[in-house]
């Protein structure tokens, strides 16, 4: 368990790093597509966090095995009996399936966001002739200025 104690801050740190980096990309890129990619990384990092919660040391994927099947016996051979007895279900230790389910949903949501976002980007490119955030801002600022000058 000591190794796990050392690893814990490391893996969570990586997850949170991806979170911050994804946000940074999503907030500062000039290219709209890169923004979306950053957003995707950010969403995925949420998934990383959930999956980190799901791992059980020595566990296996949450597909139920018969306790006397060869695969289950191979798994059991790596662990001590007390551990299996305490944390196993019918003689096999599994990782927690619930975060997997949640993250399946989250991945789908990410893909949906990406599709809609890209569709909007395609329309922006057709309308504004650019997907550069700064250029679009400049165009809109100019339009606003034109309107105000028309008034004056």
């Amino acid at each position: 368990m000591t190794l796990a104690l050392v690893l814990t801050p490391y893996v969570y740190g990586l997850g949170f790093f991806m979170m911050a980096a994804g946000l940074l990309i999503a907030l500062t890129s000039r290219h709209l597509i890169k923004r979306l990619i950053g957003l995707g990384v950010f969403q995925t990092s949420a998934g990383v966090f959930y999956i980190l919660l799901s791992k059980v040391s020595g566990g296996t994927a949450a597909i139920r095995l018969e306790a006397d099947s060869p695969a289950a016996e191979a798994l059991a051979s790596r662990l001590d009996a007390a551990y299996i007895a305490a944390h196993g279900v019918d003689g096999v230790v599994y990782s927690n399936p619930l975060p997997h389910v949640l993250i399946l949903t989250a991945i789908v949501v990410g893909a949906a966001t990406l599709a809609v976002g890209l569709a909007i980007i395609v329309r922006i490119r057709e309308t504004y002739g650019t997907v550069d955030f700064e250029e679009i801002s400049a165009l809109e600022a100019r339009a606003l200025r034109d309107v105000r000058e028309d008034e004056a």
């Binding site: 957003l39 966090f49 966001t113 976002g117 329309r123 922006i124």
Partner: protein, 505 residues
């Protein structure tokens, strides 16, 4: 005493399944709308879906009034294994809000769409609208934290595209929609990470279960960080200052029916979730929930009330004025929520409902009279060409300004009273300042539509269609009615507030 006490709107068999039908009906309607060959059938589908939802919401209100909170185990699995739909006084209040606004928007939608988009897009627009409606209803009804995230996305994903469809009138709709998408997604993801942290601490996703287990582990930084993430994520969605930047663009450029519905519901439901998480789920973690309310939300809400109102004064586009006023109103509501008393929360809920009605009326009527140019001047003298619509608009604007004998006045009055009773003079001052500023922009709008005559060339205005008028006047008349006799709505709000505050004594 709930106004629904003793009422029964359907047979027990139907009522038993009302929580599921509430959500499944508009979902089905969305699919039917997408399948339907013509715009007319899509409209019927959306109208049907909205009406069934309203019916179910009424059934649930009666049921909750009769026998307390309703719990529905979807799939027959009891929580925490299965997903629970849970409706107490608070969620029923918001269900009613969403479904009433949904029905009104739906009634008006056909004629609004005809003015703005080519007919081939209508059925998909109706489908998208019904999906957003489904998502918002799901948000209010679900008792499961992760399920709330899913419905948050159901309501958002379609909405992004719907807002972007405003591009046929105003190309800024595209950039606004993109902005909305980025900020909305960040908000939703922060929310889901926050839920993940709470899950890491409690091991469960069911909100009620979560609340119990959180109460047992009262000083856990992970739980508090989770609440902070949820709060900030939802505050983004609720357009709380300074996280509101997506809202003016989205409101000013999106198609009318979308904006009318969003303005009346979307941010409100986020406020509901905020209340749910901070006052109910975090009820056991008193210092955390209260700390966030007192030190994060309350000051921001106070600033929002003033800054957004002043910003509204300086806007030149009609819808932007209204968008900033919405941000200010969210500020008022959150000030009420943070007051920490039943009276304050009641007033906040009451204000939220009346403001939803008012804003829906305003946006619907602006769309229905074919208000093309976005600038306020293009509305000059609209009162002569569209007297019926403009009369309703004027009533709503008066309500927004808080004129006596409108629901808006009563709501603000109660809110100010509640805040004063709690000794929050600074909040009273902030709301008073903001309301007075509101008089300026409301006065400008009123003056333009009623008294101005010079209108820029090319701006045409026509009376709304009968269906749209019916929807607009229904809401406008209710807002006046609640200004005179607010007891029904007020009792509902008080019941809702008491149910939350009771949960966190």
């Amino acid at each position: 005493m709930s106004p629904f006490a003793g009422a029964q709107f359907a047979s027990p068999e139907v009522i038993q399944h009302a929580p599921a039908l509430l959500i499944a009906a508009p979902l089905t309607a969305a699919c039917v709308a997408a399948l339907s060959p013509s715009a007319r059938w899509a409209w019927f589908a959306s109208l049907g879906g909205a009406l069934v939802s309203l019916w179910m919401a009424l059934c649930l209100a009666a049921e909750v009034a009769r026998s307390g909170a309703v719990s529905y185990a979807v799939g027959g699995f009891a929580p925490p294994l299965g997903i629970e739909l849970r409706l107490d006084d608070l969620s029923v209040f918001f269900c009613l809000l969403v479904s009433v606004m949904g029905v009104a928007t739906s009634i008006a939608s056909a004629s609004l769409l005809r003015l703005e988009l080519p007919e081939r897009d209508h059925s998909l627009m109706q489908a998208g609208f019904m999906l957003a409606f489904t998502g918002l209803l799901g948000l209010t009804a679900t008792g499961d934290a992760f399920n709330a995230f899913v419905f948050l996305e159901v309501s958002s994903i379609g909405t992004y595209a719907l807002v972007a469809m405003g591009a046929s009138q105003d190309r800024r709709a595209l950039t606004a929609a993109f902005q909305y998408l980025v900020m909305g997604t960040i908000g939703a993801t922060l929310f889901v990470i926050g839920v993940g942290l709470l899950y890491a601490v409690t091991g469960t996703l069911n909100m009620a279960d979560m609340a119990e287990r959180l109460a047992a582990s009262s000083s856990d930084t992970a739980a508090i960080a989770g609440l902070a993430l949820i709060t900030v994520g939802l505050a983004l969605k609720a357009a709380m200052f300074p996280l509101h930047a997506w809202l003016p663009g989205a409101y000013s450029a999106g198609p009318t029916m979308v904006v009318a519905f969003l303005a009346g519901t979307a941010t409100k439901v986020s406020v509901y979730l905020l209340i749910r998480f901070l006052m109910d789920v975090a009820g056991g973690l008193e210092s955390a929930g209260e700390g966030l309310l007192t030190w994060l939300i309350a000051p921001m809400a106070g600033i929002a009330a003033i800054v957004a109102s002043v910003q509204a004064v300086f806007q030149t586009e009609t819808r932007r004025i209204l968008a900033y006023s919405s941000i200010a109103q969210i500020g008022y509501v959150l000030l009420g929520v943070t007051s920490g008393s039943v009276a304050g929360l009641t007033a906040a809920l009451f204000l939220l409902f009346t403001h939803a009605m008012i804003k829906t009326v305003i946006f619907l009527s602006l769309g229905a009279i074919d208000h093309r140019g976005s600038r306020l001047e293009t509305l000059a003298g609209a009162g002569r060409e569209a007297p019926w619509t403009i009369a309703a608009l004027a009533l709503a604007i008066l309500g927004l300004a808080g004129a006596p004998f409108t629901a808006g006045f009563l709501a603000k009055w109660r809110l100010l009273g509640a805040l004063a009773d709690d000794g929050r003079i600074w909040a009273v001052v902030a709301i008073a300042a903001s309301s007075l500023t509101a008089l300026v922009y409301c006065g400008r709008i009123l003056e333009t539509v009623l008294f101005r005559t010079r209108r820029p060339a090319g701006a045409t205005i026509s009376e709304a269609s009968p269906a749209a008028l019916a929807a607009i006047w229904f809401l406008a008349a209710s807002s006046v009615w609640y200004g005179v006799d607010a007891s029904a709505l007020y009792d509902l709000a008080r019941q809702a507030a008491a149910s939350v505050m009771g949960a966190s004594p």
